[in-house]
């Protein structure tokens, strides 16, 4: 199996991967994180495997007694994984003072999932924009470091932090290299493969992910996809690891289309932006989390992400963008009319779709097809 297939395998069998990892790393622990604002580098420096908690995209009713149905399907789906015992390899959980939807899933997990995990909060600021953000977050992350040290019963040294920062930065660089290949007129990797790749990295040990990424880059050298690229699409919006949705776009349309870039917290918002070395390692990590493209929940009072999204659209030469949002996701909902207008005013046509736990393929494919047709007309 090549590296590119291996990403899919790990994505689909994350529990097996993590259990195996634990057997190879006795004494280590696994911290399940709910939000990409958890400073993974610090936990990793303490010998912890950070693994993102995601949903399974299957209909469930386990979360219904705990989270009211007006909250986003993603947070309910994530909680259901814990309630169904599918994440029994988790030793601790962490959030990043994320949106209130996910905070509920986080606390409901602690309250109801057994064995009860250790809860390690990171009280990240709610915006990334205040002038005081770096000082505050540095202080908070130092406290987070202490929590990890206590949990792991070991000190985190400067060398540990440097090593961890290197591993994470290397990961970001390698992912960026693969993403850059998608700028080509005929990208050597599909959007679906890329999604498996980038999400697998959020589930597994970054060091091992780096090895796979290096192998993948070799595999991608000169690779040609056995399909027409068609319309170059960008996906923008909420958390999205919906493989069914992306394979619908790339494989089930009568008109060819390829997802060449994304602006999701499961994609570019997660990995773009390195930690820039600084005497104070924790301050450097804090700055990285404040400088990355923000989640809309933390993007105020100004709108930093709009311009970044547009830059991606331009660099990856997209024909159009599908703006996606988890149903009921308030931060994205408020951004949606404005970001669509911003992109359209700047020459990027958009189409809006709302994601639920499962994708209504029939309905969505007709709508996406119509969008692709309109893009074709624009090109003609």
């Amino acid at each position: 199996m090549g590296a590119i297939e291996k990403f899919q395998e790990i994505y689909e069998n994350r529990g097996d991967y993590i259990r195996d990892w634990k057997s190879r790393n006795p004494g280590s622990k696994v911290l399940g994180y709910f939000c990409t604002y958890v400073p993974e580098e610090i936990a990793y420096a303490g010998g912890v495997l950070t693994s993102r908690l995601l949903g399974s995209h299957e209909i469930e009713d386990d979360s219904a007694p705990h989270i009211f149905g007006m909250f986003c399907p993603f947070c309910r789906d994530v909680l259901a994984q814990g309630l169904q015992g599918k994440a029994d390899y988790i030793d601790g959980i962490s959030d990043g003072n994320c949106c209130m939807h996910l905070l509920q899933a986080f606390e409901a997990w602690y309250l109801n999932v057994r064995p009860q995990p250790k809860m390690i909060r990171a009280d990240v600021s709610c915006t990334t924009q205040t002038a005081r953000g770096v000082d505050y977050l540095t202080g908070e992350l130092k406290a987070f470091q202490k929590d990890i040290e206590e949990w792991m019963d070991r000190k985190i040294t400067v060398d540990d932090l440097d090593h961890s920062i290197d591993v994470f930065n290397q990961n970001r660089r390698l992912l960026r290299q693969v993403y850059d290949l998608r700028k080509a007129d005929d990208p050597p990797i599909s959007g679906l493969e890329c999604m498996y790749m980038v999400v697998a990295g959020q589930l597994m040990d970054k060091k091992e992910h780096n090895q796979l990424l290096e192998e993948a880059l070799v595999e991608l050298d000169g690779r040609k996809l056995d399909r027409e690229t068609g319309s170059r699409l960008m996906l923008i919006g909420s958390e999205n690891d919906d493989v069914e949705f992306i394979s619908m776009i790339e494989q089930k349309m009568t008109m060819p289309a390829t997802v060449v870039i994304d602006e999701h917290c499961t994609g570019t918002r997660y990995f773009l932006g390195e930690v820039i070395p600084d005497e104070d390692r924790i301050a450097a990590i804090a700055s990285r989390y404040l400088d990355r493209t923000p989640c809309p929940a933390k993007d105020w009072p100004k709108r930093i992400r709009f311009d970044r999204a547009l830059q991606l659209a331009k660099e990856w030469k997209v024909d159009g963008a599908i703006t996606l949002q988890q149903k009921f996701c308030d931060p994205h909902e408020i951004d949606m009319p404005s970001i669509r207008k911003y992109l359209e005013d700047n020459g990027v046509p958009t189409y809006f779709l709302e994601l639920d736990v499962t994708v209504p393929v029939g309905q969505f494919s007709t709508r996406v097809e119509a969008f692709l047709e309109s893009l074709m007309l624009d090109i003609l």
Binding site: A108, R121, S125, D135, Y136, E140, A143, P301, P331
Partner: protein, 450 residues
Amino acid sequence: MSKLTRYPTKTFECWGMAKELRMDIYNKLAQKASGEKDWLVASGGTEGLIGLPAGLGDDYVPFGGEPYGASTGAMGKSQEMMAYCENKGYARDLCGYCRNYLGSAFGDKFSFGGKYPHPDFYFQLHFCDTHGKWYQPAAEFTDSPYFVIDGGAMYRWPKWNESKERKQNKLNYLVQQMHDSIPWMEEVTGREYDDEKLGEAVYNEIMCTSKWAKCCELNKHIPAPMDQKSMYAFYVVHVLRRHTKEAVAFFDSLYDELQDRIAKGIAAVEYERYRLIHNSQPPWYALNMFRYLEDFGVACVGSQYDFMLSGGWDYYYDEDDVARIRAAEPSPDLKQQISTRDGALTALASWYLEYGLQARSFRFPMLERRNIDVAIARDWNCQGAIMHLNRGCEGWAVGQLEVRRALVENGFGVVTYEGNVADPREYDGPRTFARIDAFLESQGLKKIAT
């Protein structure tokens, strides 16, 4: 069921004053919109720190988005305002107040008549996900400046092992942002900031929230001196203008009046025989529900929402390790603290972080939030709860189902109904009343024939 007692009742003497103080704000906003008087208007949320712009001058009028959204709902104008918002592409499941407010801005309509009162600037304290986002489109649409203070790095709950350094870091973060807001306000208004006025506003804000909490404590009494609708009419004074001396005077009078009612055995609900907490905001366009409950001898005596919207409560564990709440006590040297800018800002920030239980409940939404409702139900002598599963406010809906479970586990019956704080399209009156009927019947309560 217990035998029926008929208590004496009486209209509140404070009622007129509450109404006047509320309408004074909306009248001024209408004047601003019509050009009759150019009040200095800052618009944003009103759950905390509304006294900050007071240093700009006595003509400062806060235009609170949430109370305005509620009033719009109560006046039956939501659908009109929401249509303006939805026509611009905003989702129907966004915060109901936010849609009412943004609709007013987009449609240039003020629910109290006339045009939308364009604020001089937007000023927000953020701790609900919607807070910081809400005024982005408003500020862009009206081309006005916008400042937000991040109030979402809240102190944790008492048993969560929060180190002193962590707390100090949170306090510094908040105080520094408050400091930063002052030169910003000076710049956008071209005015000089008066620290003495700030000190007074901070003093009033702290005194008001503490006094309201003390008024709520008096509602433990049987029969309760305040019914649900009176609480809504009174608490709005601190929501709209707790930084003013008029508001402090109001809560002082209310407190005295409540004590007097208790001394004289005056009840809010004539045949009170069963007490509930009403969890979450009400559907403002359907307050008749409370009148209906009263027909059964049911009094709604309080909730996190009524009590804690603007803070002022201390959450603690007693010597038997039972979680409780009590009115927070202002520091005896508050007057000294507020004599400098830094002192005033630190006093207000500490008060918010320590006693702003609403904000804390939003950022840490389940584990201890459950205990607060159980504490209210138990200590305010309730038998159960009525819970509005409120699609219009994610803030008050977070953790709701776990709160429900905790209440039931502690022996309180709970009846739920679905609705929306501001959007009547999501509320089914007959269905709600049928659920209430079934619940009360299960508790052995029938309508009292009068």
